[in-house]
């Protein structure tokens, strides 16, 4: 069961889709982990008990606090999203692809691959990915992580490369080894749905941009609406405010009117913004429920 509202982490890591200035202000506001924890508490007070976050280094300190306060965070869940792509992207620019793998892959599996004249067998790529998933999951030990997501940069890269097997390797490993449900973040939801369906995934968990202005909804908005209307899946909407381009109330009214949106993901820095977004979602959910019951 995925909560109706998920709290995101972009604001903590200066990810702002429309303003570099706001990004900097957020970097300053969330310099200390206490500020992150305080905002998570505001979100919890507003009823948000799922934190969906990247596997950023700083999240490990958040995890430490959660582990140390088991009573306070009894029902708290984290949905990790991996990998934290900029870490790897910057490393690739500096070290190249091979150098990056050498730096980040734990253990000596890769060392031995390089020594062996790079005779890489297909099986080893999958083992490599499994090792990387396990490494990213280490910081969450002892914390409830019922859903684990693959970040959109990787999901979308694999969609374009038609590397279905790798997407499925993530899917299978998360289920088997981490006893969690795999989820995918994407900017190309209809294309991803088709791939997962073709590979026999039923009722997939997909998180994608869904908003009234069609921002970051690649392909056709109609294709998104068609999937929501006709397919089985747990669809999570992110970027519902389109980075601030749509007034919150209007943005949320639209999201709540769509069929089959399991959850709404949003992030906010202030208590006031958290509370108002939650209250809009509750308001429009109730309205739709009432209308549905009346008809």
């Amino acid at each position: 069961m995925i909560d109706r509202i998920l709290f995101g982490d972009n604001q903590f890591f200066a990810v702002n889709h429309i303003s570099d200035e706001k990004s900097r202000a957020q970097s300053i506001q969330f310099k200390n982990d206490d500020a992150i924890l305080k905002t998570l508490d505001h979100a919890r007070e507003a009823g948000l008990n799922t934190f969906m976050c990247t596997t950023h280094d700083r999240i490990s300190s958040v995890c430490d606090v959660i582990r140390k306060n088991p009573i306070k965070y009894e029902n708290y869940k984290i949905f990790p999203c991996m990998p934290y792509a900029h870490k790897y992207a910057n490393a690739v620019t500096e070290l190249g692809i091979t150098g990056t793998i050498k730096q980040y892959v734990p253990g000596n599996l890769f060392g031995s691959l390089f020594k062996g004249g790079m005779a890489v067998l297909s099986k080893d790529y999958i083992s490599l990915i499994e090792l990387m998933i396990d490494a990213e999951m280490k910081m969450f030990k002892g914390i409830k992580t019922p859903v684990i997501f693959l970040q959109n940069v990787i999901t979308d890269l694999l969609i374009g490369l038609k590397a279905d097997e790798i997407l499925m390797a993530f899917y299978n490993h998360v289920r088997k080894k981490h006893n969690a449900e795999p989820g995918f973040i994407t900017m190309n939801m209809p294309k991803l749905y088709e791939i997962l369906e073709r590979n026999g995934v039923e009722n997939p968990i997909i998180c994608s941009s869904i908003n009234k202005v069609g921002f970051r909804m690649s392909g056709k908005v109609e294709a998104y609406e068609e999937i929501l209307r006709t397919k089985r899946g747990r669809f999570l909407a992110m970027q519902v405010l389109a980075g601030g381009a749509i007034p919150p109330e209007e943005a949320i009214e639209y999201i709540c009117s769509l069929p089959n949106i399991e959850s709404v993901l949003f992030g906010a820095s202030s208590k006031r913004n958290i509370e108002s977004t939650v209250s809009y979602i509750n308001k429009f959910d109730e309205k739709h429920l009432t209308t549905a019951m009346a008809s």
Partner: protein
């Protein structure tokens, strides 16, 4: 449908492959790279035919177009080889290591009537496109000064190991980061023709510069300041900002947000005083999105040009060569 091959499956190359793979009018017929670790992956999972010899690949798969995403040092040789075989070329930036080589390739492209494009993707970013339009329409009057900046966290520790740390292969902040900003100014203001002073500073690297600071001017006598630093860890990723001052207004724009100040009167839907537009208002949707619309948009544009559906006028070799010229001017200050 066009047949496309690619050489250089590094960070940009793999990103291009993914976008090409999702393109409805493209068939990827071959990939060339020297790294077995990459080609084995692409053969096994993407079912692509991979080669380690570029010439052999071109002869065997006979592509209509080729993407060249190898280190800059090899651009000249590979682009020439492809164009002599009448193959359209999309090359990564910067264009060439020197202007003599670049000039030769421009003539070859013209002679063989080939589509030629370089990967300066900022030209496909909605905010920067709008900046160009605003200036062209004279909305901020006569432009007299620019400040062009770009910062990001590429080299934040004292160590180096890839071709980007080798100046002779096209490494360094000037070729990698500053080229983007110079190209943008050349396009939206006017070509930069004079470097009045410059500092190429090493911060963590021993062999290349990590920052470029310069005072320059353009053909139209606009003065400007360039400030680029790839060892800036206060930025999460590369962030480019242009500030342009004109007699009737001012623009400050990055890839997300465009701020326009109009001194005396309303223009179109912009009103006197400050106006703000966001990338959300200025982005055209693409068919497939991998880490940003502009990367798909530039490939869509190239494919359209090869298929004769669009003119080949954005990011041509000629324009990229103008950027190489400025890089040459800056190098003299090393």
């Amino acid at each position: 449908m066009i047949k496309v091959a690619l050489v250089g499956a590094g960070k940009m190359g793999v990103s291009h492959l993914s976008i090409l793979g999702a393109h409805p009018d493209v068939e990827i017929v071959g990939v060339c790279d020297t790294s077995k670790i990459v080609t084995n992956f692409l053969e096994r999972y993407s079912k692509l035919d991979c080669y380690s010899d570029f010439g052999k690949m071109l002869d065997q798969v006979k592509p209509d177009a080729v993407f060249i995403a190898v280190p800059t040092k090899f651009h000249y040789q590979l682009i020439k080889m492809a164009m002599e075989k009448n193959i359209h070329v999309f090359a990564e930036k910067p264009f060439c290591l020197n202007t003599t080589e670049g000039r030769e390739l421009i003539s070859l492209a013209a002679k063989n009537k080939l589509v030629n494009q370089v990967g300066y993707h900022n030209k496909f970013v909605g905010t920067f496109k709008e900046v160009k339009r605003i200036i062209k329409l004279g909305m901020i009057g006569e432009v007299f000064h620019f400040v062009a900046e770009s910062y990001g966290p590429v080299v934040t520790k004292p160590k180096q190991s890839s071709w980007r740390s080798k100046p002779e292969e096209g490494g360094g902040c000037l070729m990698d980061y500053a080229s983007h900003v110079i190209d943008l100014v050349n396009d939206i203001v006017a070509p930069i023709t004079e470097v009045k002073g410059a500092t190429l500073k090493s911060i963590y690297s021993n062999t290349v510069e990590d920052a470029v600071y310069s005072v320059m001017s353009t053909t139209s006598n606009v003065s400007g300041i360039l400030s680029v630093n790839w060892s800036e860890e206060t930025y999460r990723k590369m962030s480019t900002t242009v500030t342009i001052l004109g007699s009737k207004g001012k623009i400050i724009s990055d890839a997300n947000e465009l701020k326009l100040y109009l001194k005396d009167e309303n223009k179109e839907d912009y009103t006197k005083g400050w106006n703000v537009k966001y990338i959300t208002d200025l982005t055209e949707q693409v068919n497939f999105n991998l880490r940003g619309e502009e990367y798909s948009a530039q490939i869509d544009y190239f494919v359209d040009a090869v298929m004769n559906r669009k003119p080949n006028t954005i990011n041509t070799f000629q324009q990229a060569w103008e950027t190489d010229k400025v890089i040459e001017l800056l190098k003299r200050h090393k």
